[in-house]
């Protein structure tokens, strides 16, 4: 009986470790930091590399489709420009730091759930520009003047940046994220 219990424990541990390692690899494979000082990361380049299988599995597990290859690029971040996690308990100011592409989109998704409530987005067609052509977007729970993305209540969230792709080069989101007031 004791031998049976030990055997079961070993096998169960092995299976659990195997599943966990597969899940961790799927979530982390192909994630590359985008050049620059900002915390954006992208899987776009990895879609055509040796990790393509795991990168596609990431999208499958999230219940969504990857951006159309060589048409759209995508980058995400879960932290602000200082590396602090994005959370609905704080407000953020997302500011463009350079020239913007012809078409771009910035959206908020609640972390860890493909079934999260409808996310909010801002894009090149709807965002109001400043006098100097830059874009400033507030991410907060409550409505803000100007461009505003609604963040989830007191939950961590992810920013998704999409833009027209230029070949297979990873896109570089020209946005900095500054944390404002936290409640």
């Amino acid at each position: 009986m004791r031998r049976f219990i030990w055997a079961t424990a070993y096998v169960a541990f092995g299976v659990a470790a195997g599943c966990f390692s597969a899940f961790a690899l799927i979530q982390s494979a192909g994630v590359e930091p985008v050049t620059g000082d900002e915390p954006w990361q992208s899987r776009t380049a990895a879609m055509a590399g040796p990790n393509a299988f795991y990168v596609r599995s990431h999208y499958l597990l999230e219940g969504r489709l990857p951006p159309a290859p060589s048409q759209l690029g995508e980058a995400t971040t879960e932290t602000d420009s200082k590396g602090r996690p994005l959370t609905g308990g704080c407000s953020y100011l997302i500011t463009s730091t350079g020239p913007l592409p012809r078409w771009w989109s910035l959206g908020i998704v609640g972390s860890g759930s493909a079934g999260a409530p409808l996310q909010t987005t801002a894009d090149s067609d709807t965002a109001v520009r400043e006098a100097d052509g830059s874009v400033r977007i507030s991410a907060a729970r409550d409505p803000q003047p100007g461009n505003w993305l609604k963040s989830p209540d007191r939950r961590s969230f992810t920013l998704i940046y999409s833009a027209l792709a230029t070949g297979t080069r990873t896109i570089d989101p020209p946005f900095a994220i500054t944390r404002g007031i936290c409640s």
Binding site: Y59, L60, L72, V109, I160, S162
Partner: protein, 189 residues
Amino acid sequence: MKKHLFWFLVAVVAGVMAHSAFALFVPGWWFSREVRQLAREHGKNSFFILSPEEQAKLFPGLPRFGVTGVCVFDVAKGNVTFAADLPDGFWITTIYTDKAEAIYSVNNRQSGANSFTVSLSRAPGLIEQVIKATEKEAIAEIDSGWTVNSPEPRGLAVVWYPTPEIGLRTLAAQQVARSRCTAGPAGEG
């Protein structure tokens, strides 16, 4: 000691098998549920416009004002024809397998036309390819429009048409909805 070493090795083997099984089957099975749900609600081999909620689920990074049309195709029993009829402006059409592999993608500039036909068929297996290669007489196939071979029997043909404001979404959706997805080769039905 030897006993524990033996069971440790068994655990490692079990871990490797579990890792492989998880990576190979779980993501595809998980996403297939979403695809089957779409097929149940909207039908297979028929073109429909996603609601903003469905669009947010499949493409969370895209603006809500855009129009996304989808055809959940099934080529297991025969070819499927996707006849796109899109309005002027920027659009992207992408064909994915139900394993999220993009097998074809084109935008309005690359296409050169807003109306085009894509014939979706199942990619021949290895044995079929060998048989075809050894046949002395090749059967002539009529090539009307583009042909896309899918390595999987099921997939999604997705059209994305962004609109600058929500007031134009309804009008754009009516125009994108003119596209058709039907079972059978192009020219039939």
